[in-house]
Symmetry: C2
Subunit: 360 residues, 2 copies
């Protein structure tokens, strides 16, 4: 598989090569993600509505979306329609940019710096490393324990916090010390806080007016609005302006802006949902432990099970119509939350069967 010199040297102006480029770096195929239920349904020959999809960390009982006004579909989206204001209140931060999901920011940020030495938490959400590599940066994968010693030789450090899929998190003082080191030489600390909403006191988005601190948030996970493609970037106004220019006009669709605005304002729902999700995360951990699959980590929205039987378990559960997210390196499974009592019971019963089945 050939890598275009334009990409390999980081100029990236003209992309003349096949679309398999991301995968050339990390994987043997395109990057895999949870939520690909259609592909699973087809592969395992089970109808879509027969599946229990635990392959994502999306809240299965997300914010209840009311009917969207017709004008939101008809009119071009406009800035400052109330969304930015609602987001400033929810996140407690003044400078932010709505983007079409964190993914839009993940792809664009590497284009805002000349080639740099980039450390990325690993295992972790793989799109970060892929996007920085494609833009010509020198990317190093860092386990959580190696981050500290790598900061002094990095220009950019990317953390997923809490980490997906391991659930790893870092003390606030540590994050601030890393940021200080990086910012002192014009570096960036990028923190992807996609799973931060149940622990808002650990978020750094209110500090992201400091040079070199960039925080990503998303409405996909806690609010269960993954289909809406809406996230926010928190950073210095100058960097947000460059990012906005690079992304171009109307990147977030207008119904998503309307729905997100309402969800961000619904503090009653948010306050009920936080403890409910934390309890559900603990319940999932306990369930897995009962089946001999003690999670190595996780957060309110998912649990992470590291086991050499990960592939066998994944396939055996899929044959029962339960989709999980398989990771190869290290061999592990991520399981999201069941949404109903029936789903909880179905997961526990299926696990009891498949754990027997895959015993080495």
């Amino acid at each position: 598989m050939k890598v275009s010199p334009d990409l390999a040297n980081g100029t990236g102006g003209a992309l003349a090569d096949p679309p398999s480029l991301v995968s050339a770096q990390d994987h043997s195929g395109p990057l895999h993600h949870g939520g690909r239920l259609r592909a699973a349904a087809s592969h395992y020959g089970l109808a879509l509505d027969q599946w229990l999809d635990l392959s994502t960390g999306i809240n299965p009982n997300g914010w209840p979306v009311p009917p969207v006004p017709a004008s939101a579909w008809a009119r071009l989206p406009e800035d400052e329609d109330g969304l930015e204001q609602a987001a400033r209140a929810y996140y407690g931060a003044s400078h932010l940019l709505p983007v079409a999901g964190s993914q839009a920011a993940i792809q664009a940020l590497p284009r805002l710096r000349p080639p740099a030495r980039v450390g990325v938490l690993s295992p972790g959400y793989a799109e970060h490393a892929a996007a920085w590599r494609v833009a010509g940066h020198a990317v190093r994968a860092l386990t959580a324990g190696k981050v500290d010693q790598a900061v002094s030789t990095s220009d950019v450090l990317i953390l997923i916090h809490p980490n997906n899929p391991t659930g790893a998190h870092f003390p606030l003082e540590r994050l601030l010390a890393w940021h200080d080191q990086l910012a002192a030489r014009g570096g960036w600390l990028v923190i992807d806080e996609a799973f931060m909403d149940t622990t808002p006191d650990q978020s750094l988005c209110i500090l992201a007016t400091h040079p070199g601190l960039i925080v990503l948030r998303s409405l996909g996970k806690f609010f269960g609005l993954a289909g809406a493609r809406l996230g926010f970037v928190f950073a210095q106004p100058n960097l947000l302006a460059r990012l906005e220019w690079l992304l171009g006009p109307w990147t977030v669709n207008a119904p998503a802006r309307w729905v997100a605005q309402a969800a961000l304002k619904d503090s009653d729902w948010q306050q009920r949902e936080r403890p409910r999700l934390v309890a559900a995360g603990e319940r999932l951990g306990a369930l897995l432990l009962r089946q001999g699959l003690a999670p190595q980590g996780g957060c309110a929205l998912f649990q992470w099970v590291r086991t050499p039987q990960a592939r066998d378990l994944h396939q055996a559960l899929a044959r029962q119509g339960i989709l999980t997210r398989l990771f190869e390196d290290p061999a592990s499974l991520r399981l999201g939350l069941p949404g109903t009592e029936v789903d909880w019971a179905r997961l526990e019963a299926a696990l009891a069967r498949v754990v027997e089945e895959v015993k080495p």
Copy 2:
């Protein structure tokens, strides 16, 4: 205003400059577009709901959107959920890629070629020229009459067809001849067919499997779904794959995919709407003619009035709460369709007043 060397020479890997870059090429400020009703409301001190917004070419009576299923908000969007199939049937073309509005393709296409000589129809939708310039291409503005002689010295030709705002269109044989010339040397003919839906027999999207022919369509105008941010690119599968890779995953939000699929399948609505819009476009032309503002061009969804009084007319209409789209070069106004009989009467009455007011 400084243009980053990285951009000026087309490498475009790291964008180190302020976000005012697009405007540095063509304009003294950011590119202006219709539909910016909030800005107008604030500037003219008139409440949002008091305006008649004719500043876009969006169908004011768009496809009636039914309630969207909750699952569309909750789940990540998935390819081949039925949208691609519905689009293949509607457009009569086999190879297409859904994108987050034509704008997403307009910004990405220039990144798929090394620096080239690019001719762009002018006046015309200004984002094309801006996007190719930013990516480092040498862009020439071409009036409709100059296109033919420019083809032999262009690598890429970009037409808006029918043109926005002039309504200019080209015979099929001419388009095919230009495409032949360009394709013979590896060039591209890019046709933005955002306003083509009322004249589907003039579309080239069914021919876009030919190398070097790229056609853009959108659900924003005819279907009146501008808020959804959904369009399609028609091109050779290899080029579509490169574009898809460059844009990344989940670029179109899931509710938009669901709505678009249903709209594309609603052939009863489409068949009623085409003649209705054509008649409305003619009615708008006749109304303008009665007020001494004979349109120089247009299509079913807008009319274009070229007049030295364009700015005065625009401002006088805005003071009456009617927003039009002003163009500076050449001085002209574009007016979209009123949606109700009340709006038609309001436009005619306001025009009668302001035409007297701005008489030189």
